[in-house]
């Protein structure tokens, strides 16, 4: 595979891996917290987490550009048009893809399990680690797969926040756009086919996990 093709593939895989890792660290505890919450605050937080599902990626990208750009409040951190900037955009944009499946899995655990844990003297964090996580692993893995696949296919946010910088922020979707714009259809075909195959494999895995989860 030529460097032109390999570089965006590697950049995309690195971005999806780091984004998924950050989402596992932040999104899964958030999903558990939401599953245990009641009332107005839960509704507000759930809506906030879900906003990227309906928000055009360019809107999120635009505000991130204003926030992280040279003249923005966080401009001095130099995050715009950089890999860490891409990660921040991708984490925000893929947050619901991690939180929603994990939250559903946590909510499916009977409340009596946590009550028993509490009666044995387990604190909230211990109940999360020793009871909730193992029982919700199918939902968490599904969320991780969805987040990984969604990050690989993301376009609008990464274009706005990352631009199109070779070996740094030129991810697969941007490389495909670039190739089509240059009328280089051969390159566009190869990269697009790779994304189609990967997306199908990811969805197949998520469906299989969901079926297994349903049976167990």
């Amino acid at each position: 595979m030529s460097a032109n093709l390999l570089s965006p593939v590697l950049t995309s895989l690195q971005l999806a891996t780091v984004t998924t890792a950050v989402l596992l660290l932040l999104g899964v505890p958030l999903a558990f917290a939401l599953s245990q919450m009641r009332g107005v605050l839960r509704g507000l937080l759930e809506s906030l987490v879900a906003v990227p599902l309906v928000l055009p990626p360019t809107v999120l990208g635009f505000y991130l550009l204003l926030l992280l750009g040279a003249n923005g409040p966080l401009g001095s951190l130099g995050l715009v048009f950089s890999f860490p900037g891409l990660v921040i955009g991708s984490v925000l944009f893929s947050l619901p893809f991690m939180v929603r499946p994990a939250q559903s899995a946590f909510e499916a655990i009977p409340a009596s399990v946590f009550e028993a844990g509490a009666s044995l003297g387990l604190g909230p964090w211990q109940r999360f680690i020793t009871l909730a996580l193992p029982m919700a692993k199918t939902g968490v893995v599904s969320g991780a797969m969805l987040s990984f696949a969604h990050t690989l296919g993301e376009f609008g946010v990464v274009l706005m926040v990352g631009g199109n910088i070779p070996d740094k922020t030129r991810v697969l979707s941007i490389a495909i756009f670039d190739a089509v714009e240059q009328a280089d259809y051969a390159q566009a075909h190869i990269l697009s086919l790779a994304l189609v195959l990967f997306s199908f494999a990811a969805m197949l895995l998520v469906s299989t996990l969901a079926l297994r989860g349903g049976r167990s």
């Binding site: 003249n71 990660v87 910088i165 009328a183």
Partner: protein, 223 residues
């Protein structure tokens, strides 16, 4: 909290793909094929490696002003170039003609592709040529995308840079070079945005005589 953020960003930066700091040239999309063609010669002349990022001139200027780490920006729009902050602007080094490309096999009167007049000089030039006629237009992000629209058959014709047609070896019978007096001169110029040690060499070489024969082959003219 701030230390935690710095640690997180440091870790993320460490995860970023490794690169040995090549010179990053952002170029107007119409110049990209020519730049790719002279890339290895430029790299040899200045003993450096080059990375290329392309988009419409307007999009690149917005990115540069937001902190994109470009070393050089090759602009195709003298007016828009003035909007770049903290740049040293070289005189124009080439004039880029406009052409009307009509697909010979176009069986129906489809839309005519032009680049976005707000961000791409070839779009503004095309609008000057078209005037107030009511032909159906489809606007592309850049001159390259306008070219791609015609190539794919999505548009039956397009006002595109001559250099893209020559670069793609489109038969001469399929396009018409537009009278240069009917639109403003689309000029290429180099903007120096960074103090990378090789930027001076690259800027001088781009405008120098050694590479001019290659640019002339693409249809560029002296300014």
């Amino acid at each position: 909290m701030r230390a935690g953020l710095l640690l997180l960003f440091g870790w993320l930066a460490a995860c970023a793909p490794a690169h040995d700091r090549p010179v990053l040239i952002a170029t107007a999309s119409s110049f990209r094929p020519a730049l790719e063609a002279i890339r290895s010669e430029l790299q040899q002349m200045c003993a450096t490696s080059i990375s290329i990022s392309s988009a419409s001139t307007g999009a690149l200027i917005t990115q540069a002003n937001q902190g994109a780490p470009f070393d050089l920006l090759i602009s195709a729009d003298i007016e828009l170039s003035k909007l770049v902050k903290a740049a040293s602007i070289d005189p124009p080094f080439a004039r880029s003609p406009l052409a009307l490309w009509v697909r010979p096999e176009a069986s129906r009167a489809g839309p005519v592709a032009i680049a976005n007049p707000a961000t791409a000089p070839f779009g503004r030039a095309a609008m000057q040529v078209i005037g107030k006629s009511d032909i159906e237009l489809v606007t592309a992000n850049s001159a390259s995308q306008a070219f791609s629209f015609v190539k794919s058959g999505a548009a039956s014709a397009g006002y595109v840079p001559l250099v893209l047609l020559k670069g793609a070896k489109i038969p001469k019978d399929d396009y018409e070079v537009i009278d240069p007096d009917s639109y403003f001169a689309v000029m290429l110029q180099v903007l120096r945005l960074n103090d990378h040690p090789q930027t001076d060499c690259l800027a001088r070489s781009l405008a120098g005589e050694a590479l001019w024969p290659h640019l002339a082959e693409f249809g560029y003219e002296l300014p």
